[in-house]
Amino acid sequence: MNNLEPEVLNQVHQGNQEAFTQLVETYQRPVYNLCYRMLGDQDEAEDASQETFLRVYKNIKHYDNKRPFSTWLLSIAAHHCIDQIRKRRMVIVSMDALPYIDPPDGQPGPEASFYLMEDQKRVQALLKTLNPYDRAAVVMYYWYDFSYEEIAQNLSLSLSAVKSRLHRARLGMAQTWSDQKGSNFLLERKAHESSAL
């Protein structure tokens, strides 16, 4: 993750708006990614990211310099997303609207990209099956390489709670993934059988 120069951070602390714009420029992608992974919807992720930066702008005085800025920022984003998920009356799983996802370096042709996109859709659908805190823990662990301690600090959970939440989430996702693979296999077999007839 890109880090902001301490000098810029000091200026942000002093209320310099240009420095804050630079901060938004630097952290827009990790914040948006976290919101998207948590909420699973582009528009909601955009709103949540904007709201996160607004909260940071209003609370920058409370930021403790001893703590890495990026973890503080992402913790605000995660908590906001958790609140948003809790506020929802019903969960609508939309697999169609997907934003642009950077292909990894050296990515081969369109077929591989297609499979990658399909996998991303499935991962996004899997994340939606998790409860908000488990989801936040998974996103922080796999997309931001946060340690268990950092996750615990950011989500105001105990270390053992983070470990058990991650374990539960992994098991749940693996079971769902396995079930999906099984049903896909059956569908493919049916398709082959009907074409053979």
Binding site: G15, Y32, Y36, L54, P99, I101, P103, Y142
Partner: protein, 177 residues
């Protein structure tokens, strides 16, 4: 069959001992369910590793600036309404007090003047009490000077409060720019 320890080992990132590893391999050979979980988790981890960060639509910073400007305008509006409400409340309270005073003046003017005269006498008697207290130090000030100081202190206090309020307002505006 108890799957729990094997699933814990499968999904945790702890290093297994040789014995644990052997026990798990043995269990996986005989348990289809755990074997499927293992295979699914390997797939899923690979997908996680391939996952990259999703980017917002271009122009995010510009939208943020617009959002901030909108928020600041809203806040300013709220502050304006708050000031108007507080001022209205104060003015209304003062008006009510004035009406009560005027009402008592209209009802019984004599009583009203007597009451005010009492108040003035009260202030003067406070002055003489203070003067008696400090007279051993041969410090005397005329009654009008005392009343003048009384009002001067009042005005200075009011102006200080006004200055503080104005200063705070300007500092907040500068921070927002």
């Amino acid at each position: 069959m108890n799957h729990q320890p094997y699933r814990d080992w499968l999904l945790s990132e702890q290093d297994l001992t040789v014995e644990q590893s052997q026990a798990m391999q043995e269990h996986l050979r005989s348990c289809e369910s755990c074997s499927q979980i293992e295979s699914a988790w390997i797939d899923l981890e690979a997908v996680f590793q391939k996952s990259t960060q999703v980017e917002p639509a271009s122009g995010f910073t510009e939208r943020w600036q617009a959002h901030l400007a909108e928020h600041q305008a809203h806040q300013q509006k709220l502050r304006g309404w708050w000031t108007i409400s507080v001022t209205s409340l104060i003015v209304t309270s003062l008006l009510v007090l004035l009406i009560v005073q005027l009402w008592s003046l209209l009802q019984s003017p004599d009583l009203f003047w007597v009451e005010w005269l009492n108040r003035v006498i009260g202030v003067i008697s406070i002055y003489y009490t203070i003067q008696n207290l400090v007279s051993p130090y041969s410090w005397q000030i005329p009654v009008f000077t005392f009343i003048g100081i009384f009002f001067l202190v009042g005005i200075i206090s009011f102006m200080s409060v006004l200055w503080l309020a104005t200063y705070r307002k300007f500092v907040m505006v500068r921070r927002a720019i």
